[in-house]
Symmetry: C2
């Protein structure tokens, strides 16, 4: 009897998913999501998860929006270097700033993560939180991606927006757990993804309370990547996720932690960038969003690996306008 009910429920869920997951082609990826959601939301299922524990965590760069040819926050930092340069004559001769001012991406990348973080810290601090919010909002509504000539915030993945909506319609609470800056994301991503401020977790710059204001200090206090993701999930969310979504080895710890949930059935989904025509194709050898160890593990452990080229009808929302 319960089997018949479950089949009916799966059918209803498929109809709902057909509507909400409109940009997903039928296939293994879409199927695994729908089967999971249906089984954990059916109160009669042995896999049922109470709504209060339906915690879904999403990486941002490369999972919810593009990250090539470099993290979008890096473009923001580079634009900041250029506009702050008149106040920093020393930058003309100091790396990584010199590379930015000379539009020398190769030299910039040669400085590695250390140089990039130095640039982020220098350009993201020295003002109040409200001043920084205003700077981000001005930039995100003006700056355009070099390849697409579109606002960066237009380069979000339509199928992932639909997935967020589908999960929330099924009682999941959706969180972002990104290597990107928490304060870079918060001023605009709530609107883009429908995720409130306190459900956005990311890398953190030191702040202090001074003269009744929050001021930003030149120090990185948390780089939210790798093993730090589960740690920040603990502090910010305080619950063990049951579903996690990523695209790189930097998300692996978060997804492995999700899989280790002893209480509930879990879902792990990796977005594999396989579409160099509509987006980009990269994985094992990429300097950004390296996806190597995670890809092997996902294949061995029956995780869902989205083949962007095959699984997605469209990549970006603006393709629907055509």
């Amino acid at each position: 009897m319960h089997r018949i009910l479950f089949s009916l429920l799966l059918l209803l869920s498929l109809l709902q998913a057909e509507e909400t997951l409109a940009s997903w082609n039928d296939g293994r990826s879409k199927n695994s999501v729908i089967t999971y959601v249906t089984s954990v939301t059916d109160p009669k299922s042995p896999d049922f998860i109470p709504a209060v524990d339906r915690i879904a965590v999403f990486d941002n760069d490369g999972t919810l929006w593009s990250e090539q040819p470099a993290y979008f926050q890096l473009f923001f930092a580079m634009d900041r270097v250029k506009s702050l340069a008149p106040q920093h004559p020393e930058w003309k001769t100091t790396q990584p700033f010199k590379a930015v001012l000379e539009d020398d991406m190769k030299a910039l990348m040669a400085g590695g993560t250390k140089g990039l973080l130095e640039m982020v810290v220098a350009t993201h601090t020295g003002m109040t939180d409200e001043e920084f919010d205003a700077i981000v909002i001005e930039w995100i509504n003006r700056a355009k991606h070099p390849r697409f000539d579109r606002l960066y915030k237009d380069l979000v993945y339509q199928p992932m927006l639909e997935l967020l909506t589908y999960l929330r319609a099924n009682g999941f609470k959706t969180f972002i757990v990104s290597g990107g800056g928490i304060d870079f994301m918060r001023p605009f991503v709530s609107e883009v993804y429908g995720i409130p401020s306190e459900q956005i977790v990311g890398s953190m710059i030191e702040v202090a309370y001074e003269n009744k204001q929050i001021v930003r200090r030149p120090k990185l206090v948390s780089l939210d990547d790798g093993d730090v993701k589960p740690v920040n999930i603990h502090y910010h969310i305080g619950k063990h996720p049951v579903a996690s979504f990523g695209n790189s080895d930097g998300d692996f710890a978060m997804m492995e932690y999700t899989e280790a949930n002893k209480k509930y059935k879990t879902l792990q989904l990796y977005v594999h960038h396989t579409d160099e025509k509509r987006e980009w194709a990269y994985d094992r050898k990429s300097h950004i969003g390296k996806f190597d160890k995670g890809l092997d593990y996902a294949n061995e452990h029956n995780w869902t690996v989205v083949d962007m080229k095959e699984d997605w009808k469209v990549v970006y929302p603006f393709e629907l306008e055509k």
Copy 2:
């Protein structure tokens, strides 16, 4: 015309408040809350605040539940010292543990905050997050307060529970920002206050991701009191509160920060412990919940100061059972 509408709205709001704020006596405190909520939720009011920005922050100890004769978490830590003592023979001769084992509260308090924090760190670490949750849940459902012979979680303030409900019914999102441990609160306060895990902010112990688990390490990384409260509001909430509720000088920075919100009308409410019969009476000279600088500032700046004895019909929910 709008004045008439506002009066009607205030009347409706009063009827709603009459129901939801049932344990509040009529008077200045109740009035200030209702007038504030009505004015910022009326879309035609110049003071209107969009729902997304209705952020209300509450201290916990002394604001939502009692904190005498010592913070309840301290009783938890002391019980932990006693049950862990067999594994720590050295505690028999080392303060602050010796004082606990000898039930010498005077000696324990003489060690000051440093000794107390040392005891908290020693008794709250060395296990996984899930093991700690289970320890807290077992304790909170068993241990009783020495004066009332009631579970500690029964010593919450009925009028404040009503205030939380009233605010949420009016579109506010309610957060806890407490000096208490974030991991001590989370296992049980969601149920007690109706506040989800990610909306609970508090002091933090270092954790690490090891063997697919979150493990607790013997180090305090954030003492969520004073100026640290606005800092943690920034990291965890990421929005400037419009309403704040506290009871001591340790909440002052959070409330001053709320008042400094440039965009919206704000509400600051202090709970003043004036009822030694039903609860406790203490303020300027108390060793716990000292309320001195904050009391002067509140009186000078027209903040709401709840006189517990006069303003509250009942203090604890169990009084309603009589």
